[in-house]
Point group: D2
């Protein structure tokens, strides 16, 4: 696999940003393979991916040179640099449902990601973790010990040098203090077409309302429940002949596919967030 | 075209309902072309459609005989009989947007429906009505004259013997008094995937929330705004690069198609309502 | 779980079939939970499912009585009886791709099915079979030993009393002699939207043709390659920016979901085949 | 409306193309609103759209300067320049079906396009043309006079300075000689999910094959029937209970929506063709 670098840039909209960035890359013989831009609220957002094969800067010099030659000439700039040969480290949180966990683990090889640990508030899925040779941490959470348990969770994440967290049908609400440690780094799957049916038991809500289509939504977790920036959604047609049990069965397939696409986009550094939205390039 | 009869039946769930209905039809040589049933909340719902070609009862006797031989033996029964050679009469309400009106009128011939009039609170679409030779009534509604104007609307509907009303992006909220005259007989199209984004400016709401899919919802009008039984929904994928204007453009295609499917199902007597849901057979 | 019986009936179209069947069930207090019919080519097809809870016939008498009281009065009749408390036995054939196998096994509990064995022409997926505690038979097939190997496959299927076979991306073409042993009992997943792109490397074909949507098709295997009755299809949107590798990645999700729906419909006795089509009730 | 310019560029893949183009635009204060690129077969394709509001070159000088300052430094380059304030001129060809024609005309205002004429081999749709005040030319084509009639068609297109042609369910095959006059400028809608069911009566073919999904395909016309570069496709779910008539009814909605999207993309200069594919930016 050829190594690439990716820059996610945001700054105040102004003339010539694309020219500055592309000239910088051309100067060091960086062959651009993807370039995307978006303007919203008078801000400019850009994702550019280029080959490192013949690139004239050493990996460790890219950031410094980009700062000097490009970023320092832009207003209100913010940027991240990613290298595709640095494998990110993902933690998975689960409860009792296995479908999302299975789906993630089944595509582990195609994802190019490290999964150093699975954390759960139930022991139900420990055998699956074992069959995939991934350490499984059981931390029983109740109303009283929640903050304490979250401290243990956080310690595990730090110890394993985790880059981002996937809540694969984890049925606990994270405290703001934990979320703040991983801003735009915690991906959740909600089993409805948000903003319809937030909160508990969305399939029961959908059945009661008599909708003709159900959905699933993957989003970054913020301290507002089910209100974070949406990464991906998908839907499936249902009818009156579908019971709540049928909605759950059909919905599970949506949940796992939608979550997997969100993980794919996150892993490939395709997402920039702005306000409460994502731009998926 | 071969004439058919359709019965929509609901009653308390009990043994042998389908047998009673199908034996009644078999006895008079009614060849069943469609049969569907659904059970919910301990209630039984059935739609059965049969050919009148060799049917042994005269049209005017069907209801009486069905009452005597079937319905009177069922508990808490309710039913409607429709004959496909009796063309229903539909009124269309519009405001300024033309896309749904055009779409309905363009498929007028395929629908088998009479459209005796179009009612509007603006004069904008009068030329379209004229080009299709349909009488157009302009009733300017403001805050003060609303109830008075609705009386005129109602008088027109009664005068033209209207069976059901289609709100083709009619931008006025109907009063409960008008709705009660046509229970489950007024079809609206809402430009969002309900229950997400009810009320005003759903595309602006969708843009702000950053959803990845937009939708449209056709439903029967009740006195609760955007809360009536949903008949049909559909969705379209969007991305961050779609402006509000793009959402409106893409949404218009959804609106007209979803509304036309709801009209088709209503015209073909495929819909039974129960509580706040539809069963579309 | 309440036990149910299902009858799949086909016969020459004639008056009163539904009446005969429903009266038969009503007479023995069989509460009908699903009833569907379809007429095509002057033939009548019916699926009826009823509760055995209060049904007045013993399981072993249903067939005889149905034959005497209903079937013998119908022309050119054919029917199958299924009991939902008899768990069907499914064999899975695989090669090297794991995504469909994982997906099937991950939903094993929700399926209500026995999986006595997995057969493969490669050893690649043996560890997955082992982690799910399912016997794995490796039968290396080459051009010379094909018929011999198929005899071994058939012996295994017979020995394990297999009801139906799922080809979960099994990359060998079955001989007609094997197919004939399991008519309409072998389910395949083809990685294209048939009849587009039959045969080898459909994603490469799709990329070359520049289609904007890819698909997957699940069908019963017949001796005509990729020509058997289609059970289920689904599609995903792609664009010019998707490489063949991207098509394969997106297609894998389609394949596993489409295959799982076909298995679900087969397991729930929802499918009647006629000529080269399926009616999925 | 702010005026913009669009460049569609293709050339041999080489380092620094994006830099050359964006620097050229930045130099004259052209604010880029869209930028997209794609690499395939060692060729580079780019679409860039910029505002003319403060652009430092006069409209008539852009091409010359771009040639001198950018294109002449690229290998095997090809490019087109479009100005959004120059309204394109579209001819529509129809036969007897009205649904696509209605749909196009109903959105005429939103399209920003001139429609100087409609050409047909039947008189059926003349009244629709009249109601929209568009000249309608009836040219009765039979086997003997085809080339002669096509000469008249061509003369009309030339006389009215037509930029591109839309075949809105025009049921005649164009001769290669006519197609060559408008390469990649004639848009057709085929009523199937190509490459499935090319040629005549695709809905009948789809019914016979028993597919679970039908589709429509819009493509540029080439001398190979139904083989031209695909611009847009979409699909709808069907079931065994849909007759051929139902497929046609559902398909008509697909056809008109898919065709309208293709026209939209063509009008907005979003399409580059390469070999037999389109890149829709």
């Amino acid at each position: 696999m050829n190594a690439h670098a990716i820059l996610l840039i945001s700054c105040q909209d102004q003339l010539g940003i694309a020219a500055k960035v592309t000239c910088f890359l051309a100067q060091y013989e960086g062959n651009i393979v993807d370039i995307d831009q978006h303007v919203e609220d008078n801000k400019y957002f850009m994702r550019v991916k280029w080959s490192l094969a013949k690139f004239g800067l050493a990996r460790e010099d890219i950031k410094k040179r980009f700062e000097q030659e490009v970023a320092s000439h832009l207003t209100k700039v913010d940027y991240q640099l990613y290298l595709t040969d640095k494998t990110p480290r993902m933690a998975i949180f689960v409860s009792k449902s296995s479908h999302c966990l299975f789906d993630i683990l089944a595509r582990r090889e195609s994802y190019q990601v490290e999964i150093p640990l699975i954390i759960s508030n139930h022991q139900t899925l420990a055998p699956i973790a074992k069959s995939f040779d991934i350490p499984f941490y059981y931390l029983a959470i109740d109303k009283k010990n929640k903050l304490e348990m979250e401290k243990e969770q956080l310690a595990l994440l730090k110890k394993h040098d985790i880059d981002f967290v996937v809540l694969a049908r984890y049925m606990q609400i994270l405290s703001a203090s934990l979320i703040e440690e991983y801003p735009k780094k915690i991906i959740n799957i909600h089993h409805s077409f948000l903003p319809a049916f937030p909160g508990a038991k969305p399939y029961h809500q959908a059945f009661k309302r008599g909708v003709k289509i159900i959905g699933a939504t993957s989003h970054y977790v913020t301290s507002q429940l089910d209100e974070g920036p949406i990464i991906e959604q998908d839907v499936a047609r249902v009818s009156h002949s579908d019971s709540v049990k049928d909605l759950i069965r059909k919905g599970k397939d949506l949940e796992k596919i939608v979550l997997s696409r969100a993980i794919y986009n996150h892993l490939n550094c395709k997402i920039i967030t702005h306000k409460n939205k994502t731009f998926v390039f």
